[in-house]
Symmetry: C2
Subunit: 367 residues, 2 copies
């Protein structure tokens, strides 16, 4: 906390006082957690995937010259960057600034995040020996994450902090493809050709994800999101056989905390029901499936998160407002809606557009 | 034809005689066209999207040192490359070797295909003036395509030739994004913020696609495929409002030829019914939606094409065979099934795997 207060570059974001985040939420006490639990809310809560990121000038200032993964290990930076969108947008939840490959790196996997490309592995995984050598994650290897979460919980006051981890399938796809991939084809080929090796790999990655989530929850995160970013490249039958059991292990492992568990992947329209069955309390939906249809697919016991097209924020304010209204219309009457984008904030987004989204959603849904 | 016969690098593909393609199909006369029309067939026809391409050593030999778009303008090369997979795999249809951005380039749009990246525009389109200046395609600007199609029709004998074009939405996304894009976000933003400009742009691109398909059909192509490669980035409501009318214009414009019109985009599970309604005789399905489910979505009057995961061909022969069986099991009893991959052949594919797929599909479906 003192570390944060003395950061020379820490300044209130333009247009919103530093104190705003906490006071803005004081009338909607617990609105995010209540929506996740499908309880009545004063208004629909809002947060944005990748809200802490490149769209914010204050983020680019802080990150200047600091490599991505290094910034995730510096407690002061993690706290500041996590706080920035809360101050700026008045969102109803913070999300820890980190990266899904961070726990792999922390455990000892040689990898780096290459600007403009994404995570790149020094040694893509291809043999049983590679899998056998995959290191376990020890909680103290991500002690800085626990420390940042504790600092943030204090700093955030009533605004809940969402922790997160990559799901086993998505982590496996990075390890196997060696980096970002359009098709994830080698991953699916390995999965089907060497099912035993695959399940061994995903067992290990499930333990790693579970450890990473547990560290964040023990330090005070109020909810977690399990990102299966690339699960949308799978047919439902493959997802059910090769992926669901391992995601279920992760989600089950943190059930005891009583914190809502959000599960999301882009392009997962065909998988929404299965992702709910994996043990999610909230299923994130991208912009391709309207929320009323998504509700039918996940069933009546699960809340939904989403699903404004991130591209909407690149359009005119009028078209943005129409898209927001459209999402709200589809969510009408659904118990448990957390407003979000259908994928991460695009780096070229004008932050003022997102501020308008928060205001509009709050205003239009206030009961 | 003489041009072809004298090409120094033209050699029979290993493992299959040059004459094989024609004789291999002589017992299944018209099987591809019959399946497209949902008529009874002796066996399920097979072809592969991007069958003429980098997976073939004979293709890499021919293309060595020749830029992609230049190779598409050289009649001898187009003929040779189009024939290679027919000789090699014994597929039941050839597909013209070309590129969806070729007609844009031919019309005068400054663009290039950059190796490892894809089509890149010199001047991405962003203003109404850019749209107004978009040139029309005159048939004689792609005279080499007509010439290649005529030569191929002679060379192919009974094997039908599929022509193709990019659909207006996908062409627009290249023009607007300036190149390949993961999110196509600027395209969706422009579409919704400037609907009149958007519809003007897509009107023009629909004329260009229609002209390009007409050139191929007049020269003797037996079927056409309209590729809306990136339509899967759209929600159904946006597709219906901003895209479907223009794709329908293209498909309608070539209805008079009586040649089957195939319509395909990757990740279009939510759109299959709408893509059928756009006027397709055959809807292509990627690997995410099983064919029996796809049949329910497109309705009873449309044939289906697909949908083996291209990644299956990177797996072991046993797992590949299982995946083929799975596709065939889902297609059981459907009138009108053209076996294909759910997306293009991956460059790293071992061609022998695809030869096995053709043999297996033919053998397992022979009535």
């Amino acid at each position: 906390m003192t570390r944060v207060a003395t950061m020379p570059w820490r300044q209130p974001a333009p247009g919103r006082a530093t104190i705003g985040a906490v006071t803005a939420n004081s009338t909607g006490d617990g609105v995010f957690l209540r929506a996740c639990r499908r309880e009545p809310v004063a208004f629909t809560p809002v947060w944005f995937m990748r809200q802490a990121g490149r769209a914010l000038p204050e983020y680019r200032r802080v990150r200047a010259g600091v490599p991505m993964l290094e910034s995730c290990t510096r407690v002061d930076m993690v706290v500041e960057i996590t706080m920035q969108p809360v101050r700026r947008y008045g969102v109803d939840a913070a999300v820890l600034f980190s990266d899904i490959v961070l726990p792999l790196k922390a455990a000892g996997v040689e990898l780096d995040i290459v600007a403009g490309r994404g995570p790149v592995m020094a040694h893509p995984l291809s043999t049983p020996l590679d899998v056998a050598r995959l290191p376990e994650l020890e909680p103290d290897q991500v002690g800085y994450v626990a420390e940042a979460v504790r600092a943030l919980v204090g700093e955030l006051g009533e605004t809940p902090l969402i922790g997160f981890a990559g799901a086993p399938y998505t982590l496996a796809s990075y390890l196997i493809e060696g980096g970002p991939s359009k098709e994830h084809a080698r991953t699916r080929a390995l999965m089907r050709s060497h099912p035993q090796l695959w399940h061994d790999l995903l067992d290990r990655l499930a333990r790693l994800s579970a450890t990473f989530l547990t560290v964040q929850l023990e330090a005070g995160a109020a909810a977690v999101q399990l990102f299966d970013s690339w699960a949308g490249s799978l047919a439902a039958s493959d997802y059910a056989e090769f992926v669901l059991p391992h995601s279920a292990t992760v989600l089950e492992s943190v059930a005891g905390f009583g914190a809502p568990r959000i599960h999301f992947g882009v392009g997962t329209g065909e998988l929404l029901g299965l992702m709910a069955r994996a043990g999610a309390d909230v299923v994130g939906v991208d912009w391709r499936v309207p929320l009323d249809e998504a509700a039918r697919r996940v069933g009546p016991t699960v809340a939904l998160q989403g699903n404004l097209d991130p591209a909407a924020a690149l359009g005119s304010p009028e078209s943005l407002a129409r898209q927001v209204e459209r999402v709200l219309a589809c969510a009408e009457g659904l118990p448990g809606h957390v407003f979000n984008l259908g994928h991460g904030v695009l780096p070229e987004t004008d932050p003022d557009q997102l501020t308008r989204v928060v205001e509009l959603v709050h205003e239009r849904t206030r009961r």
